[in-house]
Amino acid sequence: MAKVVGFNGNAAVAYAMKQINPDVVAAYPITPQTDCVERFAEYVSEGLVDSEFITVESEHSAMSACIGAAAAGGRVMTATAANGLALMWEMLYIAASMRLPIVMMVTNRALSGNINIHCDHADTMGARDAGWIHLFSENAQEAYDNTIQAIKIAEDLGVRLPIMVTQDGFIISHAVERVEILEDEEVKNFIGAYKGRYPLLDLNNPVTYGPIDLFDYYFEHKRSQIEAIDNCLPVIERVGKEFGELSGRNYELLEGYRLEDAEYAVVALGSTCGTAREAIDSLREKGKKVGLLKMRCFRPFPRESVIEALSPLKGIAVLDRSVSFGGFGGPLFTEVRSALYDAPSRPSIINFFYGLGGRDIYPEDIEKALEKTEEVVKAGKIEQHIDYLGLRE
């Protein structure tokens, strides 16, 4: 019988970190992630983990220390949010380029300016091209489960890439929920022991990390990095299945809800998927054939699974909680729409921006988005590709 506890998202991830017991954690506090780092510091202080905890002076140094520690050959974790992630930006690319399996929890928070501490996805979307795997969580349970799976995915010999596990700031990070936890031994056995490849601490085989790499090799190195991240999808799927066997909670790249016979669907990330389930149930009661596609894995983008799930539909509402200024639609919209270009049949797609800076989204907003999508399909013409939910115009 699984043990059930009341955890907010931060506590759930801190507890996963305790069970993972990494060699090194280097982290800097930032709202709304702080609670996670505080809890981990308590585990260190109480001797409940034997991890070394580096209390760095900035997020840039947090990621730099993680890179040094991971290159030295051990298991490394960190956590951040928003501007902290932005300060790491330079180092994110370097961590991925060095193929270091660092696992980082990110509580999604709006990026300044103006300064705002609440949820949107501007932070991790800004890092979507950095070469990291991105796993989104719908609730505290998923944040916990994804964190444990992330270790196994990142360290897989066919992957060896850093992963960020995200959870919506405050909405998940600070809301106490029912969370089923595994036994320490189960986690330990699931993730297994880790031995870094080409560690700096191997004195007999000295390696040079981070040389200058010019026009004669850089391009080939980027090509191999493209292949590395593309090859992750089957590993993420396999680990999700293995985790399901252990916990009873199966994980896939994406998850459909009432999609089987649906004609219209919303595509969303994170906690909004929970809100969308409510909206869908309510519309279903009214006889509407609607569903949800939850994107768990955003990087690498599971193109084929997206086509398979969405191609049969008539219309799609893509919900974006961040903006790509000057671009045609938000990051999720752009990806989904691009994937469907080659689909056997192409549904109409509308992009809805919502929830920036922590603005709440309600089931009625999502119902409205689905209804608008249906209207567009029935009219046979999209007048407006981009719309807003919950905004005062």
């Binding site: 890179i67 030295a72 050959g73 601490l201």
Partner: protein, 309 residues
Amino acid sequence: MPPLKELAKRPERLTSGHRLCAGCGAPIAIRLILAAADKPVVAANATGCLEVSTTIFPYTAWNIPWIHSAFENAAATITGVETMYRAKKKRGEIDEDIYFVAFGGDGGTYDIGLQSLSGAWERGHRFVYVCYNNEAYMNTGIQRSSATPLGAWTTTSPVGKVLPGKTQWRKNLTEIAVAHDIPYVAQSVPSNWRDLTLKAEKAFHTEGPAFLNVLASCNRGWRHLPADTLKVNQLAVDCCIWPLYEVENGEYRLTYKPREKKPVEEWLKVQGRFQHLFSPAYRYLIDEFQAYVDREWERLLEKCGETKK
């Protein structure tokens, strides 16, 4: 410290074949420092001349484990490596004793890397940070840094009709290190191999952070002949512009006192970057330079207990 003959027999940790310029002071300093390590060394490097010239892929001049990740974070990076070492030692996965060293130029140390260095000092990691200080951003082509002395020409402090080169004095980073109350801080120079080697050995033996600020001339940026590097470096010491001293657990000690304190002009006149100071319009800057150096020198003598009462 073992005799020089013994030191020379130690394995070359930075090999020949790197692409640093003829006359560069940095590799002389780095090789002397690494030869002083009596145990294995793992190094981190900030972006800069030393990094780009020793590791052009697929080649490397490093015979020791070495990591470069970015410009402003050599200190944070090496503390990550050092912390993993402690984690693994605690778990019984490693038993060798290893020294950890970070190398950065003055740009990567005085300027963009100071925050991460300060953080690493405060946390008290056991590592040696070496600033090979050539007094400007030489890797990008001679731009001023906060280590560049007053009046120096650089490409971002050019000499023009209204400006005489750099208009500010340099930051005293060695004293900033001392203010962190770390166990070992020293200034040295490759022209005095014995002084540098002794200090490097002490730094490696320090149980906690150690800082070596090493003046290492860049003949391209300072505008002197490649063969004159050590001579120009030693002149900085003999003019008391770059005093050799150490601060061990808060105790100051002057490690070299010039027999005769030479005027700063002697150092300025051998470098092209200061030539404009000798025109009548800018002569006053030499006097300011001298006054500044005199004041700093007197303060240092006092701290070192060298002032005659």
